[in-house]
């Protein structure tokens, strides 16, 4: 890539073509969302006559209507509880386990890594039905805490491996020095290791939180009452209900997705780097 300037003249046509194709691909990725945004601002009859065009007169009240009819407020509030508890819980559970595996060199760490890889490749459907039965008997069915505990289990394997990869790179001298000063294991973890690996925790929290917000199969199985539904199943119930008004469905979908888009655009490097590290390691 360093030889580019010398051949810039010969390549410029190819370069334009490259940008052209990249733009088309970007349009494919973002275009449908833009149309969705336009549709949220149309009247139903306008949507039928001009399905892809800009809204003639933006119907901002669609958002208020969708908020009301789809009970998005309750859904978002439940999702905030689920997302924060999932992210925090996963950080605590995975942080402790990663510390044990990466810094304390507990015997059997390699087997545990293998076990975590296997459990994260197992289908949720394998344990869904007995878990449903178990949760019903424990009073955790149709209960946000029950859903959160499941998310802790499902999202902690990847987070453990991610945080561990940050921990194994630390130089050992810091901990040794702290131990010599008489610090206990907990203090070493909280005062020495944690401040150096917090980016790993932040990435794990973001990915676990986003996954919990978007998750569907477990939420639709384990939460039944409307007032306890997280936003994903609340929106699903609205869209598969009697409503066939796509303008309101679009508005409701945007209400669900806008917080995610804002968070993603603000923190995109961290999000993307987290996904890269979980997508490239085997």
């Amino acid at each position: 890539m360093t030889s580019r300037p010398a051949r810039a003249g010969a390549l410029s046509l190819g370069r334009y073509a490259t940008y052209g194709v990249l733009l088309l691909l970007a349009l494919f990725a973002v275009g449908p969302m833009l149309v969705f945004g336009f549709n949220a601002l149309k009247t139903p009859s306008e949507l039928a006559t001009s399905p892809l065009g800009l809204p003639a007169a933006p119907q901002w009240h669609n958002f208020a209507d969708a908020w009301q009819e789809a009970a998005m407020g309750v859904g978002l509030a439940n999702s905030v509880v689920v997302v924060i508890s999932t992210a925090l819980g996963v950080c605590v559970i995975s942080g402790c386990a990663a510390y044990a595996m990466g810094r304390l060199r507990v015997p059997g760490s390699n087997f545990l890594i293998f076990y975590l890889l296997v459990t994260s490749a197992l289908p949720i459907q394998l344990f869904l039905v007995p878990l449903f039965y178990l949760w019903t008997n424990l009073g955790l069915y149709d209960n946000l805490l029950g859903l959160i505990i499941i998310y802790w289990a499902v999202f902690s394997p990847f987070a453990t491996l991610l945080i561990r990869s940050y921990m194994v790179g630390l130089p050992k001298e810091y901990e040794e020095a702290a131990r010599l000063d008489g610090a206990g294991e907990w203090k070493v973890f909280a005062r020495v290791v944690l401040p150096m690996v917090w980016p790993g925790f932040l990435t794990a929290a973001l990915i676990a939180g986003l996954s919990a917000y978007n998750e569907f199969l477990l939420a639709v199985t384990f939460i039944q009452s409307t007032d306890k539904m997280p936003v994903s199943t609340a929106f699903f119930a609205f869209k598969s209900g009697y409503t066939q008004d796509y303008t309101l469905i679009s508005a409701g979908g945007l209400i669900m997705v806008i917080p995610v888009l804002v968070a993603f655009l603000l923190l995109q490097r961290r999000f993307i780097e987290g996904y890269i590290s979980s997508g490239m390691t085997g």
């Binding site: 990249l22 001009s50 304390l104």
Partner: protein, 312 residues
Amino acid sequence: MAIMQVHRSAAPAARPGHAERRTRLRRAAVGFAFMAPLLVVNVVVIAAPGAMSIWYSFTDWTGLGPASFVGLDNYTNLLGDPEFHNALLHNTLWTLFFLTVPMAMGLFGAFLLSHIRRFQMLFRVAYFIPYVVATVVSGSIWESLLSPDQGIGDGLAAIGLPWLKDVNFLGDPDLALGTVAFVNTWQWWGFLVVIFLASMQAVSPQLYEAARLDGANRWREFWHITLPGIRPTLMFLGLMTVIWSFLIFDYIYILTQGGPAGSTDVLGTLLYRNAFANLQAGYAASIGVVMALVSVIAVSGFLYLRRRGWDI
């Protein structure tokens, strides 16, 4: 230096191994205490119910009351169940599709991106956006775009391109499975671009220099340097694609629920229906075991090849 001195004074010459072993034991105990929360939630939510599923797959459990042992009945029924064959076929087609089309799109996008400097980050973000959108939302984005009376078909007809008009993408049994796969691809391929790009950027630039000196064009560069250079990532994502393709549930359930006429039914939706609608939890468990077996076989094959010295 200080550390070594402390060590020596802490272990008196008479019993050299004793104190050290005790420290090691204490450290191991502390380590297990740190791992306990992970192990507890993992066993309660995943491992124990997973093991129970294997047991239930040999019973006639309805999902509520007691279960009685029926041997291999569920599995022999599966072998003769046309719905199971139908779902298995769709999962296989799904796997083949996701191993080729989105992979090719991801490689193509990443290769183009690796050749530009300006706006690279911007394109990367744009391609990744669909991946962070929830399945329920991307499902409804495309439900409206693909609807026969107010979607892309009508939009194109209005500007003189009538071919897609009145096509019922999700309602036509011949088109539904491909349509759902397309919608999932829309959300998925940008993720592949980002991963492949990161992997391509780790390939040594000297290799490209050498190829250019030999007069290789872009295609040969891609074929002889980029692809071999990212092979570990490619193989890992191939493995994950096989696993995920047999677990697919969300898009099917949200867009078509397996219909029309079973044309998009997959193992995931078949299991769900048996477990929660037909009250045949034992039968559903046997489907779950089959799905898990596919994952286990895929992972073992991958690890076996890797141990045989394949660079994957």
